[in-house]
Amino acid sequence: MRRVVVTGLGLVTPLGADVETCWANLIAGRSGAGPITRFDASDQKCTIACEVKAPDHPWGFDPDKRVDHKVQRQVDPFIVYGIDAAGQALEDAGLTEMSEAERFRAGCSIGSGIGGLPGIESESLVLAEKGPKRVSPHFVHGRLINLISGQVSIKYGLMGPNHAVVTACSTGAHSIGDAARMIALDDADVMLAGGSESTVCPIGIAGFAAARALNTSFNDRPEQASRPYDRDRDGFVMGEGAGVVVLEEYERAKARGAKIYAEVIGYGLSGDAFHVTAPEPEGSGAYRAMEMAMRKSGLALSDIDYINAHGTSTMADMIELGAVKRLFGDAVGGLSMSSTKSAIGHLLGGAGAVESIFCILAMRDQIVPPTLNLDNPSEGAEGVDLVPHVARKREVRAVLNNSFGFGGTNASLVMKTI
């Protein structure tokens, strides 16, 4: 099997619209949470979210940088975020000007958990109020999940595999794992891989709140609402944004002198076969995904220095933690594990990709990001360094990233430095 490395990174998150700003804010312990500004949320049970900030904010997102005005008008925000993050990653990798032969071997696997929910909501209202003749001709392709991959391939002329994963909140991790396999199996030499989401809209907040997944008791203290492993946690904080990496076949990256961030060495997938929203109580699905990723990596359990947990600030946090403890055994004492959802919220289909990038930056800078708001760890959290409140300098040689989604779908990725 061919080796696969990461040579470019791109981020659009509630803590910054580029990799370095976002990472600096994350390490500084800042929170991206606040009252919802995108719409009037006063009648919602949850009135807060981690929104991507407007262009005039110190770390706001300017869509004009990489996305044509016309495209912006036609598509949902998750596609805009995805195009921008993909552009950042290509620029970072120095691959914006590939030859036609290279572009035949370069593809996209950028997915989303839900897709264009805000646009589906607003166009449904147009249909109801004005009738079918007023529905936009751009309605369908402006909302489809695979249209990040579609738009990016058109913009940069990438003619290799064009793919889009849809596995709810494990989309980003599955996207990277699947794309890495495409390179390993010689379907492509370069893949843009990641995930994006933007569902901060009335029906998105109402739907997740109705499913009892969102926090509702911190509306007056948004920055304290996302508190994985803390005994007062009561649901996730909706985030939005995108993460995209450039994956590249190792020999090709080495030959062109590319900056190599990390190697993708392990990928594990499993299904809970249990319940549509609740994880299997013993965490057996999470355990098997991590176990498979570790087995494929060839590493010893003690080689993992950092785990970026799924840790959504829900009841499921302790199920994941239990599975980690069972799998790692004594080795759990030597690693650090944090949930960066405490700072940026839950990016749903974008989460696994954004968090994989945080794992890579943890290896680059030898520092692990904190779990904010972890004031009183729940019973069962003892014996694991959950990096409460502040980032910590430490050795980070290899990392594990977990992502789990509705439907009982689990993905784990293992990466290491070269």
Binding site: K70, R73, S136
Partner: protein, 78 residues
């Protein structure tokens, strides 16, 4: 310039993201302003909405320049 022309040009600028000075009356939506067939469908819908006219498909197919749109609207608006 007529009031219709002003409003048509404003819609074209907004929808196609082009510079206002490129939207001359002779400009072709597809050849000069970068529109595709779906953009034209959307523009026609926007004209219908703005001017309260109905532009049937066979008439819409004949609208290829900014002037075509202005003329049709002026002839059919109430």
């Amino acid at each position: 310039m007529s009031e219709t022309a002003d409003r048509v040009k404003k819609i074209v600028v907004e929808h196609l993201g082009v510079e206002a000075d490129k939207v001359t009356e002779d400009a072709s939506f597809i050849d000069d302003l970068g529109a595709d067939s779906l953009d034209i469908v959307e523009l026609v819908m926007a004209f219908e909405e703005e001017f309260g006219v109905e532009i049937p498909d066979d008439a819409a197919e004949k609208i290829s320049t900014v002037k075509d749109a202005i003329t049709y609207i002026d002839e059919h608006k109430g």
